[in-house]
Symmetry: C2
Subunit: 380 residues, 2 copies
């Protein structure tokens, strides 16, 4: 029998959705907003646009942009101090995974005190966060949909997975027009991240019919739209990647992920690599490792990737994995682990840390650190 | 370009999910709960079970059961008076569409004052409702998921559609085990209501990828499970109908419905018929009327109903409609309108009222009251 939970934020989706921000902020009681974004979005003009929307509606705004890719614990603590000093009441974040996760981390500390590492793992946040409105600028992380927040503990060199229902924001404002100012690489890294969310959550031990249909929809849309979106910046294809990323977010937020993400977090903590670039390296190897535990589901994934065909599931699954490898090669993406890990000796540490990541718990096939070493060797 | 909103409650799903009620009530701040249900659920023992769960957790509870099938405006106003007199702070409802819609109506008046007819139509509720936790006892209305509330205005003989984001409850607790005490007829009427939600929302003018995948999942699960659930009370089939109804709810709540539901509301206001029994009579005729406006989508629906096949969409669509008619006949359901409408002369009034129902606005093919007369004539 199925036992499951399913939670997502209110979603406002579409070109121009960002113009609803002030109204949304009023709805959650905003008077003084703590607004998190980053340099890239300042340069593209989106930060000024958000400030303008808030100013027009006479909403005070404290701006915070001390956010790096793979946001750090110190940045979160500093943000929380400013939020409290400035007596803000609502958090708005505009960005990819990093500004949104930083915003969530700040919300955790504002609402619960302590240090961010106190909340590592699942369901360790006891008190409510301030209302949050998140505006994704990439179609990948889906932090605007999810119960996840990934923050780097610099001292321990660990990207911590923090998972809690309270990390689902109140409102996600998804405006695909924002994607039009990003470059090919960011489009690709984001789409492949969303694809990995869909694949891992579809075969997760916690998958349910509510998450599975979202995962498959995401895979279908990413496979169809990744090329025209990345190579031509086609606006309809970018919109479809936004839909895909949102669907993948609904899936992984509620079904969790697997060993690929456990390894990606662990690699990101030690090597500070862009999260999305880990997947072309490890996704095929992890799919091959998991295949014996979920042949039927991997067959379904394979048919969504390579098209419908009458053949045994195992063949469809293998064909799907091969097709993905070809796709990554066509895009000229790095698929070799040695290019991002400076010293092979650090693999053991990386694999041991990964087995303690909460994402690892829901992987369909059990794996100890030696199994992860084999996966890494295959991708070396 | 797609412009859409998507909102659903937090969902807790599974056998025994009802035992989480007290914890959920605490989460939304309950101290004194206004609990709405009805005689049927008292007889089946579920009302006592809920009271017991709340008592064990020392949560006060005021019980209200003055709810008939097709809940009336007066019942809503009386419930709101009691809620305020008793200084309750959270609404819990256990039931099919009627107790849940009555609870929503009570919430509207408690939060906004006035009379329930002041809120007829879309987006007319301006102030928040008390927190609501809904526990469906049927797999059909999905009022526990939706932005809809249907209340009968007795004086005007109109079942009013009230639609607002604020009518989505905070939490939906879906425990398929509750379905095991219902009889064949209620299982059938509910499943066919959910099927109609899925079909109408799939072709609605407001459908989006987020609603469409839920609608198709619902159709697939209902077609596969309606027989074993209704004829044998098979518990896995009942669980699947619960999943289907929930998915259909996610779809129609956000994409709205169409002319079938406009007519069903209008018929229900004049004739006080059980909502679910209208659909076997009118669903095929409305599908045939809509077919020219959405041939591809109706073809997809047809393939979900009758199985995949290589043929033009129009053929697949017609086959699907014919298959539904056969299914209704196999179950021995009434498919003739004259058996529920006492006087044919009242059809004109029924059709005119239906054209003013908010559900009618999103029907894929425009229809005036004369068109609706033709649909009714076909089903007479």
């Amino acid at each position: 029998m199925l036992n499951t939970k399913f939670a997502i934020p209110d979603i406002i989706f579409g070109d121009g959705a960002i113009t609803h921000l002030a109204q949304c902020a009023r709805r959650v009681g905003a008077q003084r907003i703590f607004f998190v974004s980053d340099q890239g979005l300042e340069d593209a003009g989106w930060v000024d646009m958000v400030k303008g929307i808030l100013r027009t509606e006479k909403l005070d705004c404290v701006y915070f942009n001390d956010v790096k890719s793979n946001p750090r614990d110190k940045q979160v603590h500093r943000g929380a101090e400013i939020y409290l000093e400035e007596r803000c009441d609502v958090i708005v974040a505009l960005g990819g995974g990093s500004p949104m996760d930083a915003a969530k981390g700040i919300g955790i500390i504002v609402g619960n005190g302590g240090k961010i590492r106190d909340y590592e793992g699942a369901n360790r946040i006891m008190r409510p966060l301030p209302p949050m409105i998140l505006i994704p600028s990439t179609a990948g992380s889906s932090s605007d949909i999810s119960q996840f927040c990934i923050i780097t503990d610099v001292e321990r060199e660990v990207k911590m997975s923090i998972i809690s229902r309270s990390l689902v924001p109140n409102i996600s404002i998804i405006d695909p027009h924002i994607l039009t100012t990003q470059g090919r690489d960011l489009t690709l890294a984001s789409a492949i991240d969303a694809l990995s969310h869909a694949v891992e959550s579809y075969v997760s031990k916690l998958a349910s019919p509510f998450t599975e249909m979202n995962a498959l929809k995401a895979i279908e849309l990413i496979i169809k739209n990744i090329k025209p979106a990345a190579e031509d910046g086609d606006s309809k294809a970018l919109e479809n990647l936004s839909i895909a990323s949102t669907a993948a977010g609904m899936s992984f937020s509620n079904a969790s992920l697997g060993t690929l993400h456990a390894l990606a977090h662990s690699l990101g903590g030690v090597c500070d690599v862009l999260h999305g670039w880990v997947h072309p390296i490890l996704l095929p190897s992890v799919m091959r490792y998991n295949l014996p535990s979920c042949i039927e589901k991997m067959g379904t994934i394979g048919r969504y990737i390579s098209g419908p065909r009458v053949c045994p599931d195992i063949q469809a699954a293998e064909l799907g994995i091969n097709t993905l490898e070809k796709l990554f090669a066509e895009f000229g993406l790095n698929t070799k682990l040695h290019k991002i890990v400076p010293h092979k000796a650090s693999l053991e540490k990386i694999c041991k840390i990964a087995t303690r990541d909460v994402c690892h718990l829901t992987n369909p096939r059990p794996a100890n650190w030696q199994d992860l070493m084999n996966i890494c060797e295959e991708a070396w």
